[in-house]
């Protein structure tokens, strides 16, 4: 048999075109709302128009008269079943359907089930709810004031304070600040925004009364975790629950939590004995499901006169809305926010975070982010620029002076993490070269002399992804391992199933590439499945860039387990000792006689037809991988903006992104992830805001107000990479999906502020809309 080459196999490093495209370009994707079951009914939710109100009465009589309406479910009905409340992933509980009062605008109050989509909507419009308005709290600072009304009457603690959390050494940090010559501080708000995947949330709950089995098709980034939560909350035996997450139209963290719509659909299906479909409208998606950020941050840096940063001090207030529904590992109330010392070698640091309840939608989830790492990265990269401005230093030079030296890895941060590997100066130098930094600074000087407004912004971020070591990270007690099961069929074809769930990342291709590389079987001969809890091994799901670091590692290890057994079979076939074989060029070869070899295809056939005595038949393995550490992707982004003094509009002229995500599985897919994440970062910097007026009425609750950049606004991205493998990951990969969204907001904002710095502007909160820039210029006396 001729030897396959790496190119034929399509293993690591190849831009293999995606397998999943075949169905998507034909309109044959299968998203939840595409599913139509026999006898299926439709569910519509009744939502509260008020942000805080006592519920007087709910009159369902008119709704029940609507032709086609089958049932109306209220909080009182759920209360009887013990399901009016459900646990969140952050030690809190959340109303499924409101009982007693509502706590945010858009909250779910009742559900109408009908024979058709239209009848359900008509029924929902006919439900009459009497509300008595209560005082509204929208500002998290005011929520913690003595005169604020206590919003959560269900809690023992009679205050709106949720938690206090600290990391680092307060006293040692204070001592450095007291001794330092240069101290800067900056208040900044990372605004409330929403992941807004193009597909809203949806489910079809299908109770089979004969087999007593509940199948739920749902838009889920974590089907297994959701199955266990359904078992724990609804009391259904776990083997009688099947969650199927088919094609998912984007997630970005929005589809990690369980939402009331899923739970009430399951209840309705149990009640009616028929399938129940709930498809969220965009307004419901933006107004009630997991928002992100809403962190009100105060950052300080202490430095020496020659620009050596010694310490960081951070105080932050997080607005969690009506329920603390943050989706993150249970021991981390502020996620991995203590990654905020970033890429810098500091002597010490101290961070404290408090959480507050307000009359806003519950959250906050990690929007294309590994649990508050976007907030952390923005905070440090913004504040370093504030320091550079204060000291009159070049921001690139200041960063270089303070980067963790490449020789210092693994590096223990003062806030408790151990960075696996990094070469920050390498990524920075490449980015400076690509953007032509020195020329840009010259150009800027000339333009400033002419009164033209141009800025250059840098962000040198370090991420933390791949949760996580199981002892450190769990979701509802379940350790955050992940899994892969590999079966090699007799003819050398492979079926693999993974515990993570793609929402567009291309797992069916990239995970097949990992297997191709490890097994020497062409990527076209490998099928990767996921998203069905009846077939896939247990996993914690895809978010926080954990698929490649955790399930990708499980995939490589499972393949190596297959290879270990294959080696025994190869030895048997070649009639040599196992120790005389080596795995080289995608085959087991006799040491010293490499032409005597067996490929995995040869071995697979023998595994079912000719196994050595004492060895069981078959060729398969499963691995549940618990990573020894997180991975720490990094990079440098540089943004160049031009500002129109007449309109205040800022345009990205050039954007250079140099990423280092360790070993690259598929360069095409990695680049696609970078493009997408940068565009989301751009959107957050410039236009995305979920805001509330003083009545708690949401602004930004639909796509007319919550702005998504179109192809006309989206900048062009220039990308490149350096490769610093993770030393603890089986293939050295670190994960990439979130880096661009984590690292880029600071680059955009730093560029705009740099442009405006001659006019005395030191900071503007995101989103930096044209009117904010226009006003800053007018305040500085600039004529349009």
């Amino acid at each position: 048999m001729s030897q396959a080459t790496a190119q034929d196999i399509g293993g690591l490093g190849h831009s293999v075109r995606r397998k999943e495209d075949a169905r998507f370009v034909r309109g044959k994707g299968r998203y939840v709302d595409d599913i139509k079951l026999k006898g299926m009914t439709y569910l519509a939710l009744v939502r509260s128009p008020y942000a805080h109100a006592r519920i007087g009465s709910i009159d369902i009589s008119k709704a029940m008269e609507v032709e086609g309406v089958l049932a109306v479910i209220t909080g009182a009905d759920l209360e009887e079943a013990g399901l009016a409340w459900m646990p969140t992933l952050s030690h809190d509980q959340q109303m499924v359907l409101a009982t007693g009062k509502v706590l945010f605008q858009g909250q779910e109050v009742a559900a109408v089930v009908a024979e058709s989509r239209a009848a359900a909507a008509d029924g929902a419009a006919a439900v009459r709810v009497d509300y008595v308005e209560l005082p509204v709290v929208v500002d998290p600072h005011a929520a913690l004031g003595d005169d604020a009304p206590v919003l959560r009457e269900d809690r023992d603690e009679k205050s709106n304070h949720i938690f206090h959390w600290e990391a680092g050494d307060r006293e040692a940090t204070d001592a450095i600040f007291d001794a330092c010559d240069v101290v800067v501080s900056q208040d900044m708000v990372y605004q409330r925004c929403h992941p807004a995947p193009l597909e809203c949330c949806a489910c079809v709950a299908d109770w089979d009364p004969v087999n007593e089995k509940m199948t739920i098709y749902m838009t889920s980034q974590a089907p297994h975790a959701h199955r266990t939560l359904f078992a724990l909350v609804a009391g259904l035996p776990e083997h009688k629950i099947r969650i199927i997450s088919p094609d998912v139209g984007g997630g970005f963290g929005n589809k990690v939590p369980i939402y009331p719509g899923y739970v009430v659909s399951a209840v309705a299906s149990l009640k009616l004995g028929r399938p129940v479909k709930w498809t969220e409208e965009r307004s419901g998606n933006l107004q009630s499901t997991g928002f992100a950020r809403d962190y009100h941050m105060h950052a300080e840096l202490a430095a020496t006169k020659d620009g050596k940063i010694r310490a960081l001090r951070v105080k932050t207030l997080g607005d969690h809305g009506a329920f603390n529904a943050a989706a993150q590992p249970s021991k981390f109330p502020a996620g991995f926010y203590n990654i905020c010392s970033g890429s810098y070698d500091l002597e010490n640091a101290f961070v404290e975070v408090d959480g507050a309840y307000t009359n806003k939608a519950p959250g906050g989830i990690a929007y294309r982010c590994s649990f508050r790492v976007t907030e952390a990265s923005y905070l440090i990269e913004r504040t370093v620029d504030v320091l550079a401005d204060e000291m009159g230093l070049d921001p690139a030079e200041l960063r270089k002076r303070n980067f963790i030296d490449p020789g210092k890895f693994p590096y223990d941060t003062p806030l408790g993490w151990t960075y696996d590997s990094g070469n920050y100066v390498g990524a920075m130098d490449r980015a400076l070269e690509m953007v032509g930094y020195d020329d840009l600074l010259k150009e800027q000087e000339e333009k400033r002399a002419r009164g033209e407004i141009m800025g250059v912004g840098i962000s040198s971020f370090t991420e933390i992804v791949g949760a996580g070591p199981g002892k450190q990270c769990d979701i509802a007690g379940i350790e955050m391992f992940d899994s892969c099961e590999v079966r090699v069929h007799p003819t050398g074809k492979v079926l693999a199933r993974i515990g993570v769930q793609t929402q567009g990342q291309g797992h069916e291709t990239t995970f097949a590439q990992i297997l191709a590389e490890e097994l020497g079987i062409p990527v076209g001969d490998i099928t990767v499945e996921h998203g069905d809890t009846d077939t896939a091994p247990y996993g914690l799901g895809t978010y926080a860039s954990r698929s490649t670091p955790v399930a990708g590692a499980a995939t490589a290890v499972a393949a190596r387990k297959v290879r270990a057994k294959a080696q025994k079979i190869a030895a048997h076939l070649l009639e040599v000792d196992e120790a005389d074989l080596e795995w080289k060029d995608y085959a087991f070869r006799v040491k010293g006689a490499p032409d005597r070899s067996k490929t995995m295809q040869d071995i697979a056939f023998a595994a079912y037809t000719n196994v050595p005595e004492g060895l069981e038949a078959g060729l398969e393995a499963v691995d549940y991988y618990d990573p020894p550490n997180m991975t720490y992707p990094f990079g440098t982004y540089i943004c160049v903006v031009d500002i129109d003094p007449g309109t205040g509009d800022w345009k990205v002229r050039k954007f250079v992104a140099v990423d280092d995500c360790g070993t690259v599985i598929n360069p095409m897919v990695v680049e696609g992830q970078i493009h997408g994440g940068l565009t989301e970062g751009f959107a957050i910097s410039k236009m995305q805001l979920i805001d509330y007026d003083e009545n708690g009425s949401i602004t930004g609750g639909n796509f007319m107000e919550y702005l998504i950049p179109t192809a006309v606004e989206a900048p062009h991205w220039d990308t490149d990479r350096t490769v610093t493998p993770s030393p603890h990951h089986p293939i050295g990969a670190k994960g990439v999906g979130e880096s661009p969204n984590v690292g880029s907001p600071a680059a955009f904002v730093n560029a705009v502020i740099d442009a405006l710095s001659p006019y005395g502007v030191r900071h503007i909160d995101m989103p930096i809309t044209s009117d904010k820039v226009w006003k800053a210029l007018r305040d500085a006396g600039v004529e349009g």
């Binding site: 190119q7 999943e20 370009v25 044959k28 239209a118 995947p197 984007g250 965009r282 796509f703 006309v712």
Partner: protein, 172 residues
């Protein structure tokens, strides 16, 4: 039963006659009555373009048309793309080759808008393409590879080398 009215449309070359409630949106008619679920719904407010179909060759957001307004018209949905035997036509090949899709939810609308553009302008500039797709939102790709995909399709059509190729796995 609610009042219904007749509607007769040609979709992807096949004639369909049905009775619908007058308020039925075209997108719901396509998805629920004709089972053509490749046309998606992303926003309800005509902002996102996931529901884009071609009406007599012109891109329309099918969430903003009633089914009855399509009466007598010729519609193309994503299921109508492709060549005989299940092969891909150039716009589909372009998206596959240039990684113009990730989650796939905006893809049907994007491809149809791209196809309509190339029908009237076989050699569009990047600016032409960005303008043409600006009514369609994508949350995954940042549009850069969508632009490349449509240019790839334009090139394929011009060189006439497109017909029949297959999407799927296999090394690049």
């Amino acid at each position: 039963m609610a009042e219904t009215v007749p509607v007769k449309v040609t979709v992807n070359g096949a004639e369909h006659e049905a009775r619908v409630e007058p308020r039925t949106l075209l997108v719901h008619f396509l998805r629920d009555d004709l089972d053509l679920t490749g046309t998606h719904i992303g926003c309800d407010t005509t902002n996102c373009g996931a529901c884009t179909v071609l009406v007599d060759g012109v891109p329309m957001k099918s969430c903003t048309m009633f089914a009855v307004q399509a009466d007598g018209h010729d519609l193309t949905t994503v299921e109508g793309l492709g060549v005989d035997g299940g092969g891909l036509e150039p716009i589909q090949q372009g998206f596959h080759e240039e990684h113009g899709l990730q989650c796939g939810f905006c893809t049907p609308g994007m491809m149809l808008v791209g196809k309509a553009l190339l029908d009237r302008n076989p050699d569009p500039t990047e600016a032409d393409i960005r303008k043409a797709i600006s009514g369609n939102l994508c949350r995954c790709t940042g549009y850069q590879n969508i632009v490349k995909s449509i240019r790839h399709a334009a090139e394929q059509i011009r060189t006439g080398a497109a017909a029949g190729a297959e999407a799927g796995g296999g090394a690049a």
